[in-house]
Amino acid sequence: MPDIELEDLLRGLAPQVLGAVVRHYGHFDTAEDAVQEALLAAATQWPKDGIPDNPRGWLITVASRRLTDLLRSEQARQRREDTVARWTLPGQLLAPAADRTPAESDDTLILLFMCCHPSLSPASQIALTLRAVGGLTTAEIARAFLVPEATMTRRISRAKQRIKDSGIPFRIPPGPERAERLGAVLHVLYLIFNEGYASTSGPTLQRTELSAEAVRLARMVHRLLPDDGEVAGLLALMLLTDARRPARTGPDGDLIPMAEQDRNLWNAAYIAEGVALITDALPRGATGPYQLQAAIAAVHGEAPTAEATDWPQIMALYGLLMRISDNPMVALNQAVAVAMVRGARAGLDLLAELEADERIAEDHRLHAVRAHLLEMTGDRVAAHDCYEAAARRTTSLPQQRYLHARAARLTE
């Protein structure tokens, strides 16, 4: 079996195995270490000895045994420290009652809920999700986030300690809390995707892998909750956004704005899948922000050329999005859509209102949009100055190069 396939198999099994072990024995923090060791053992043994008949069972057995060892040594240490040993070792437990073994799909969801617990910082939520549910090693996560491995190790163990201390039960949160916690999970997946997509710094390869990982996890959640519109919306949004990646940068790594991208380079399969997902989800009631953003991305994705873009529809969708989200970036995009429908002047009027919003007033994107709109009105001097103002406000070199190039074009 090729390495890649084995890795996919192991990472797909990782949350199921961890879920099963934690459900039976508790001790999320130690169990997580035990499962990582079991995965490592499988990665070294299976290529030599062949894949066992029941890979999941093999991993659960090895992880449980390892958990027993880890808890024994912890218990011994505790006893040495003269503390009451109060843990039950896995071997001393009776087989779990039938009513304690619901579908393994629930286990994966519960793990996601735990890893994205609101008591953790976003950085910890992301790291823990990638390790416990994504099955990535600490070293891989550290590389993706460009931090030393020791830093990531500490971040993960602190997060696990926090979960342990808070005594969160291993179950699906009840009632309204469930929706709220699912929202946190989706937000973490969205952050992981953006980390890989938006970043232009650092070793590029590992960053794109983060987007791929976010898509994989979103697919998994969508499989578990096929009727949830926002889950479908998030997956669609990721696919429709990622579809444009091949066209986003030129051969020299320069940024290319959507209007100038070669649409033949867009990933047609991703667009088709994203459009199908959002088309299916939208009519099913309560339309949340991910579905609206996906719908906007779908309108772009379906336009054969930039000129053929259905801007009135995009403007209407941003209007809906504005009603449910107080995000200045949404307002900025709304101004672009308005400019495309009603003319650059109308867009500039909206920007003037945004300048009072200190969350975005100093953001390079506000200045870049104003520069574009001024260019549309034919005011080359003002547009030039705005491109330069935008370049001064971003720390990203590729963005600076793009903005300077736009400015230079206007003085030719």
């Binding site: 590389r143 020299d252 720390t395 600076q400």
Partner: protein, 140 residues
């Protein structure tokens, strides 16, 4: 043993890299792409040899805030962009963990092969400095 490799650049150098023509010629798209490819490989090689602890590039000097250097109405003075246009300041660093000072020097020397316009290459340099370590077992 850990070492830090430091590189330096002025605001003018950053402007050139960002494609802004200010006195000196701006980097072309090809030059910029070549540098990125070089740096990607340089970092990847260090990562694979297990010697890379961390590396970062810093934003342009103009984005610096200097805190201190006196008090104003009882609070430290904050100065935006304290550097002169041509003043060379810290631009990036690599923390490497390797067997010897010579190996760290060899790594830093590799940076000298970075592609770029001639006027940049002629002046470029890197400093290598050992990172102080505090070992618990030094008490006698």
């Amino acid at each position: 043993m850990k070492y830090i490799i430091l590189t330096y650049a002025s605001q003018q150098d950053y402007d050139g890299l960002a494609g802004k023509a200010s006195g000196k010629s701006a980097w072309s798209a090809q030059d910029f792409a070549a540098l990125r490819a070089f740096m990607d490989k340089f970092n990847k090689d260090l990562e694979e040899s297990g010697e890379l602890v961390e590396t970062r590039g810093l934003a342009a000097p103009v984005h610096t805030r200097r805190v201190g250097g006196g008090l104003h109405k009882g609070v430290p003075v904050v100065t935006d962009g304290p550097y002169a246009e041509t003043q060379e300041v810290l631009a990036g660093y690599w923390v490497v963990e390797c067997e010897s000072f010579d190996r760290a020097t060899e790594i830093a020397a590799g940076l000298g092969k970075a592609p770029g316009p001639e006027h940049v290459a002629a002046r470029a340099f890197a400093d290598v400095r050992p990172i102080a370590e505090f070992q618990a077992d030094t008490e006698l």
